[in-house]
């Protein structure tokens, strides 16, 4: 008899709980006590807590224009990304909402959507997004731009794709993949004037940054056991969190189950104009709701945006 060894090897990853953007932050925030001046994670009233039975969890990820010492929970939200994560399949959908979208803000008339954070904090911000797109996020995660810069610096370089080339004193970005440090990443997130699509292109680039951050966090946490637990300790030391720690753990563990190659990033389109002398975006609400409806239950977008 011929003796032949046969070996089959298969591997599968399943994570049945979630949260996306926060692990990214855990890595990056500088060490300090928890304070809403750097970053904050809150559960939305009426939203579902992350649970093992959930298939999809939605996080509203915000970049605040808060300056040092100001609360990110009371300052304008200048980067607005709605992130849906499928805990069962590892798919995710990122929907970029232009900050100047002129929309109904519950109880506060019509205004730019980024003003909702000033008027009513993360709960009103979530309500404004829900009114706009027809979906209430489960969590709101907010970071200041300067906090985000330090975060990225802690895990740099971040490999980010750019459809366009541009250069400013803070950063030079080539078309294609770029290796960005913290300062360059923040420049990339804020760049608008050099992009033909203005606000819309900037929102798209912010989605690309989220994907790049997720990919990098996964790389780092796969270096050895216990990396997530270590990062969460840092996260809690630097972030205002109103979730029970077990919920935070499940949320963070879930983000690592998202496969960056299964993430679709879209931007809510529209047209620009002025209201009362201020530049605004008249978002295509019908399209926004269509994107959300298609991805609501599974965080996937068959056929793309």
């Amino acid at each position: 008899m011929t003796s032949t060894r046969s070996r089959t090897v298969t591997r599968i990853r399943r994570v049945v709980a979630l949260g996306a953007v926060l692990t990214l932050t855990a890595l990056l925030v500088p060490d300090a006590g928890p304070s809403p001046t750097r970053a904050a994670l809150v559960r939305v009233q009426g939203g579902d807590a992350v649970d093992a039975d959930d298939d999809v969890v939605w996080i509203l990820a915000l970049g605040s224009d808060a300056r040092r010492g100001q609360s990110v929970l009371g300052s304008r939200a200048d980067a607005i990304q709605l992130v849906g994560m499928n805990l069962r399949t590892g798919h995710a959908t990122i929907i970029g909402i232009p900050r100047d979208s002129y929309v109904d803000i519950p109880g506060h008339g019509t205004n730019k959507i980024n003003s909702a954070m000033v008027s009513g904090g993360p709960q009103l911000m979530a309500s404004a997004v829900a009114t706009m797109v027809g979906l209430t996020p489960d969590y709101v995660f907010t970071t200041s731009f300067w906090g985000f810069r330090f975060m990225v610096q802690r895990m740099a370089p971040l490999s980010v794709y750019s459809p366009f080339s541009w250069s400013i004193p803070a950063a030079t970005v080539q078309r294609g993949e770029n290796q960005l440090d913290g300062a360059e990443a923040i420049a990339f997130a804020r760049m608008r004037k050099a992009l033909p699509g203005g606000d819309f292109d900037r929102s798209r680039d912010q989605g690309f940054l989220l994907i790049a951050g997720l990919r990098r966090v996964r790389e780092l946490t796969e270096r050895g056991p216990g990396q997530l637990e270590r990062l969460l300790v840092s996260f809690l030391a630097n972030t205002y969190v109103d979730l029970p720690p077990d919920e935070l753990y499940r949320l963070a563990r879930a983000v690592l189950g998202i496969d960056p190659s299964r993430v679709t990033s879209c931007v809510v389109g529209g047209s620009t104009g002025t209201v009362g002398g201020a530049s605004v975006v008249f978002a295509n609400i019908t399209r926004a709701r269509s994107i959300v409806d298609r991805s609501r239950d599974d965080a996937t977008l068959e056929g793309g945006c």
């Binding site: 046969s6 089959t8 298969t10 599968i12 093992a52 056991p225 637990e229 969460l232 720690p245």
Partner: protein
């Protein structure tokens, strides 16, 4: 932040078999069907607790964490692989220590999360390696989440006398639900080694 040394649970193990490639009977008693007479007992250790953890590696708190997490993981290993009346094609109760959502997913992945693909061809199976290494997250002095690294090597024998070696390694993700530890996610790898088979089978999870 507490850094914990290994705390062993259970006595007789094949701890020296880090590769999991030892053959039945090597260094031990060979029982019926050529399988080891003494199954490896589960060895659980708490390697590290991140956060505020007042206990050291030998504290009652650490031992309690070790027992609780070891029991949850062990419950799955027993019902899915070890405490099974072979030949078997059903693995009822294998996911009793999983959260409801994780159990539903694990049932869909039963080719990986149980011994389903080999079970109906085996007449007996004995664990020769069974280790659980826990890293926990305890931000406020109480562990609320944990990663359990698992290494299980199971020696099985078919009615024809052909032997199979099944290895299941990877991570289980644990959290506390209503005060009880539960498995809510997994990242597992499975391999089947059939040293006496002709040719090779390449099907994933097919088990040769």
């Amino acid at each position: 932040m507490a850094v914990l040394a290994a705390a062993a649970l259970g006595g007789c193990t094949d701890d020296s078999d880090s590769s999991g490639d030892s053959q039945p009977g090597e260094g031990g008693t060979v029982g019926a069907l050529g399988l080891p007479a003494e199954p490896a007992e589960q060895r659980t250790q708490v390697r590290k607790v991140w956060g505020r953890w007042p206990g050291d590696d030998d504290s009652a708190r650490t031992r309690s964490l070790q027992r609780a997490t070891g029991r949850v993981v062990g419950g799955w290993i027993d019902r899915a692989f070890v405490a099974v009346d072979y030949p078997a094609s059903e693995f009822d109760g294998a996911f009793a220590t999983f959260t409801r959502g994780a159990a539903a997913q694990a049932r869909r992945d039963s080719w990986l999360t149980t011994n389903q693909t080999l079970g109906d061809r085996l007449v007996d199976a004995v664990p020769v390696k069974r280790t659980v290494s826990v890293i926990a997250f305890a931000p406020k002095g109480s562990a609320v989440g944990a990663t359990a690294q698992v290494a299980l090597v199971l020696q099985g024998v078919a009615e024809s006398g052909q032997r199979r070696k099944l290895s299941v390694t990877g991570e289980l993700h644990l959290t506390r639900v209503d005060g009880r530890w539960r498995i809510f996610g997994y990242d597992l790898q499975r391999s089947v080694h059939a040293p006496e088979l002709r040719g090779s089978s390449g099907s994933s999870g097919g088990g040769g």
